[in-house]
Amino acid sequence: MFGTVIRNIVLAGLLASSVLAAPAQAFERTDNGNVIVFGGRQAIPVLDPHIRYDWSTRMIQQGVYDALVKYEGDPAVVKPWLAEKWETSEDGKTWTFHLVKNAKFHNGDPVTAEAVRYSFERGLKLNKGVAWMLKDFLAPEGVSVVDDYTVKFELKAPYAPFLSFLPWWFVVNPAQVKANEVDGDYGQKWLTDNEAGSGPFKLGRWEPNVLYEVESVADYWKRWPQGENRPAGVIYRIIREPAAQKAALQRGEADIVEGLTSDDYVQIEKVPGIVIQNHKGMTTFGIKFNTQKGPTADINLRKAIAYAMDYDALVGVYNGAASLETSPLPDAMKGHIEVPGIPRKDLAKAKEFLAKSAYPNGGITLDYVHVAGLEEARRIGLVLLDNLKALNIGVNIKPEQWPNMVAAGSKVETSPNMTSVFTTPISTDPDAVAYQYHKNSWGQYYAMAFYDNADVSAMIDKARGSTNWDERAKLYADIQKQIVADQPEVFGMLQNRRWAHQSYLQGFNFSPVRFTGEVDLYPLWIKEE
């Protein structure tokens, strides 16, 4: 009776499935050339260079904007970009930058000293995003135009790391921004989804939370290093699941992806046609103790935990793609020394310290807080839990949303016993990390240890004001040793930065000062076979 009905259903099903088989694509070819597809896990909510920065945002910002200088290479060096040269005054307070003459914005306007001045004024006055880097040393009025192509910065005090921050201060076109200003918002609303830059790329399709496309500027003022091979553009496509990312890479739907699991990288390395970029990074991992309150205020307990930790397992979590911290400063940072006697696993020593502590037999349970969804931090928590069983100390692993974790960590009273924190220094200057251990940093997420050592604070202040590198290097060496001695945290490891990309993708240029996942899009190109 229902034979026909069933047959129709089956037929309809077959029909549907045959229509739908879509061929797998390689990189995207368009009329203008090849478009590179980048698969990333993180969205770009706000493009405005003075409002936000995180790795995905800054990757595109770096593409569409230029700064006075730019970090390149490993180890990272500051290279002239919009500024072809610069000089510093004797007292280290005045910096004068001479701009290149041929740089122009995407709308054709020349990049002038006024544009630079306006950009810095904008960044400082909005007091968001990048403002923290310079606001203590530079007032908006401190930037002045000398002539069309010369701009002068007058700092409030000598500030050695000044130059190391400038690559992240992008220059916007004041004419465009002012034209789109609403209620004196410095064009914030407009720049959220638009750009007013002079960089090698301009915006293409912009579908927030889905994909963001940049198109290469054919007549970019600084030319293209890959010449005729320059891509037509780059699509940054959000693929949130590692499994989906891997699938996209294998199917050729993405040319480069970041954020696979460690094991995926190991696995996918064997796949022909896929290349793994594996570089030592600058992101430090530490388990911050609350040094002011609770059991972890006891230095002996902290030491005991530090000695009980299985450091090999930390590297194991990354399948070997990580290296242990030998100092609070990452290896790639200027002034880094290998601090002798930094704790490694030594259970006897751990028990010795534990005996000296207020809890000679353990019997306590400590909270370990990590950012919810951060896989490695969770796994390190498991390692910690496993290791501390030897000391009869329990670990309560608590995933928290980032804002909640930061909110709790901003006060001594609410800061957890242990918090896992990844920190990526914003520059290669040692101050970027050292200042985290300054008492002024209390309240910031990386200062959840509430580390308080007046000597260290004084040394940091002294080092950041000095312009003499040798003097600073010595100070930083002392700072590093003292911090290790006080053990405000378990010094963990530096994870490697990894990407997986198709072998035809060329021009990958690593620099440790960039954020995890961030890639310099400018030199990339596709080599067609």
Binding site: V19, A21, K128, A247, E253
Partner: protein, 335 residues
Amino acid sequence: MLTFTLRKLLTVAGTMLGIAVLTFVITNIAPGDPARLVAGPNATEDMVATIRTEYGLDRPMIEQFAIYMKDLVTGDFGTSIVSTRPVLDELLRYAPATIELVLVAMLLGIFVGVPLGMLSAVYKDGPIDHFTRILSISGVAIPAFWFGILMQLYFSVDLGWLPVSGRLPLVTRPPEFITGSLLIDSLLAGNFKTFNTALSYIILPAIVLSFPCLASILRVNRAEMIEVLQSDYIVAARAHGISSRRIVICYALKNALLPTLAMIGLRFGWMLGSTVLVETVFDWPGIGLYAVSSALASDFKPVIGVTLLIGFLFIITNTLVDLAYAWIDPRLRRA
């Protein structure tokens, strides 16, 4: 009729207001500080304060609530602190994708579920019935996210038949924005290639989303069919010599469709909720994904917005179901 419509509108408005209050209260129990998140990791205290002031987060909760409610009445859903855009704009951008997905899934659920339910009721305890019974119970029991991943791996990775995730290939220009539904827009533009491509992208998430819905539609329809088929008027129809085929397809199905309709209305809301999971798995840029990412960032204005929108759609659907009820059931027409 006018008073009826007015009363209905008032109920909807009241419910919406209730949802707004409910979600506002729920989302503000938290100690989270979204301002700190968007200020960036290195921001100083005064930078965070700048953002807090900008978004009114420094005001007392009651005041924030009053402001929110006042804005809501004028159609302003507030501003997302993470993306700095008005929530309404974002909702309008993401909603079509979700609605398209849910509708396709719904159609799939109805057009597979109802006939299968009918068949298994007619051939009760036969092989078809056993098959659909397994199908329906599995459908409700299977974790959608797990099923989604399995489907992705099999159909996309192993077989390579269907795309993994997203709505369209990367360089395919979407058709001109008319309704926001790629399927409809591409048809309106007469672009069948884009239509086919968009279809190939929607098929997996739609199947995963519709599976539980299909299962419950099937189940309800089967149960109702069985009951209707045993009812007196079907016995009478059989006794009056009407053919089995006509009894099942015409008489019984129409009666069994009423509770099925109610289930469809319920499941519609349920599917809107499950988009939270399915959109995450398939990277479907809809309101579910928007809600998840906002919730994880403690950015609550979008969460309230999404909840309101889902609630609104749900109420609208149920009103439509009520209308359909009245259309099918003459007994309700004059009430």
